[in-house]
């Protein structure tokens, strides 16, 4: 089997959480090898990252270059093409950096690209069968990927169990001299940190979260009334922000805020993984959706199959009644 590599993203010397997840994936592709880590950067940050990787990987290839001090996918690609042997299998995390890097890398390595893989099903001869989710997680698909000329495989962060190799003390191999001058036609300028907005949804114990099922902006007061009755606040999923019905600061998900409420009401939210990735701390999750097959019902504690425009006002009434009864 071809040699398996894992490209590890480091930022300021901190290695990405996904590093341990590559070990299990590599074993599923070829049980006989621990993947070789590749990490890029410059100076003390890169040394710190290498030290963190030594207990996890048997071999760590480092590429030190001043141009790689900030991870720019175009430059990282040039560097990887210089050092990777022919027919390598390269594992990359399917995050905003992996989406930038991997498709173009597969072209430069002249090998297939399997994107956003959530499971490795089996390996037969020269090909691997992987699982992907499509249509916002409504359905899964098996894909067969030919490995005979190597492959770039992007793995969904969090989909694979992290594993560590206890007792491993990896060797760091300096590959910097194999990389020539690096020049990019795209240059990093700055990072703009998201605004908190009028309400900090990460601080609330109860969230009434609305999705596409709310249908139009004029229906949002229905959710706001429920939130008011509960003493909660309203958050939302991405389509609601894209439609400009609510502010970006209210969005829960991988491209929005990470929240840790006690109770989460998902109202008309289908349950795509990008949204679920923003819900931490295992809240009591109540899903209201008119589609009985919505993926949200797989992860919710309680499900109500109903039109939320009808159900939420009824729930608001019941909450008010309950409060009245408690007050008496």
């Amino acid at each position: 089997m071809n040699r398996v590599f894992a490209y590890i993203v480091q930022r300021a010397g901190v290695i990405d959480d996904s590093a341990g997840e590559f070990i299990q994936t590599a074993r599923k592709i070829d049980g006989s090898q621990i993947p070789t880590a590749i990490v890029t950067g410059f100076g003390a940050e890169l040394e710190t990252a290498c030290a963190c990787l030594r207990p996890v990987f048997g071999e760590i290839w480092k590429i030190s270059n001043q141009a790689l001090a900030y991870s720019n996918a175009e430059l990282v690609r040039q560097a990887l093409v210089c050092v990777l042997p022919a027919k390598s299998i390269v594992l990359i995390s399917h995050d905003h950096f992996g989406i930038d890097l991997a498709p173009g890398l597969s072209i430069k390595l002249d090998c297939p690209f399997a994107s956003d893989v959530v499971a490795i099903d089996n390996v037969q001869g020269d090909s691997v069968t992987v699982v992907r989710q499509e249509f916002g997680g409504q359905i899964s698909a098996h894909y067969k990927c030919d490995l005979s000329s190597g492959a770039v495989i992007n793995l969904r962060p969090g989909a694979f169990r992290a594993e560590s190799n206890s007792g491993v003390s990896g060797v760091v191999v300096d590959k910097s001299s194999q990389v020539g001058a690096l020049a990019a036609k795209r240059r990093y300028l700055e990072t703009i940190v998201a605004e908190t907005g009028d309400v900090d949804i990460t601080k609330h114990a109860v969230l009434v979260s609305v999705g596409r099922g709310i249908q139009e902006k004029d229906n949002i007061p229905i959710a706001e009334e429920l939130a008011e009755a509960l003493g909660a606040t309203v958050s939302c999923s991405r389509p609601v922000v894209d439609a400009k019905w609510m502010a970006k600061s209210r969005q829960v998900g991988s491209s929005g805020k990470t929240v840790k409420p006690k109770v989460y009401l998902a109202c008309g939210i289908s349950g795509a993984f990008q949204h679920l990735a923003g819900i931490k701390g295992k809240p009591f999750l109540i899903a209201i959706n008119k589609n009985a097959k919505a993926p949200i019902f797989q992860v919710a504690d309680i499900g109500i199959v109903d039109d939320l425009l009808e159900f939420l006002p009824e729930l608001t009434n019941k909450v008010r009644e309950l409060r009245g009864a408690v007050a008496k």
């Binding site: 996918a73 175009e74 690609r77 905003h96 989406i99 930038d100 890097l101 991997a102 498709p103 173009g104 890398l105 072209i107 430069k108 690209f113 399997a114 994107s115 956003d116 069968t129 699982v131 916002g136 409504q138 359905i139 899964s140 698909a141 894909y143 990927c145 000329s149 990019a184 795209r186 990093y188 300028l189 700055e190 990072t191 998201a194 114990a205 109860v206 596409r212 991405r238 922000v241 894209d242 400009k244 969005q251 491209s255 805020k257 006690k262 109770v263 009401l265 009591f284 999750l285 109540i286 097959k293 019902f297 309680i302 499900g303 109903d306 159900f311 009824e314 729930l315 019941k318 909450v319």
Partner: protein, 262 residues
Amino acid sequence: MEILVCVRRVPDTSENEIELDSEGNDIARDELVYSINEPDNYAVEEALQIRDRVGGNVTVVTVGGEDDEEVLRRELAMGANRALLLSDDAFTESDGRGIATILKDFVKREKFDLILTGVQADDGAAQIGGMLAAMLDLPFASLVNSIEVDGQKLKISREIEGGNREVNEIDLPCVLSIQTGLNEPRYVGMRGIRQVASIPIATLGASDLAVDQVSVGKAAAKVVRIDYFVPAQGQGAEILRGSREEKAERVAELIAARGGLR
């Protein structure tokens, strides 16, 4: 500025529940409603706004068949200057790399300053833009959520974790994959579509594009979907039964029991 937008027609998940067919290995396609892939529509809107600010033309292109003409016509109604369909039996069952190869051969015939794609299709892999850029040796950025034109370069921002934005400058010509939400795509009514009904949509095939037929189609595909399936499910939610009122009462009690009434 000459701008190309690569678009695709996909099953519309806001209109359809995607389910397995009776054979159990493909999605039920008979009653699917199709529309333009959502991020692609944002890409077209962005292209139109850039053209209206700095001048030039917007061309939309898709790889597909006759059925896909409807999304091209829709984008003409939005205001695109030109639409082309890349279609040939030899293109059938191409994988992502095959599609990018066909687009690459089309781009090489023309001269574009800026090439946009949607970041990902609902049944896609977020791959075409990055592959196309690498084939053409052009700079690339994914998940773009703002674009400012600054002479021979662009100032762009990308969506990164936590709703933060990474600002870059990128030289023209370049390829960008566009994230949803960066603008408000204009509405297209039936009237607008009727007005462009007579505009011809040119179709280009493998020989027109001088596509190396060994590199596209089923035989060249190295990443191939075998089937669709519904994974074995966990316990899932307890689905409440009864009247709407009974269910609402139960939910209110459950929230209260979890300390949710404050």
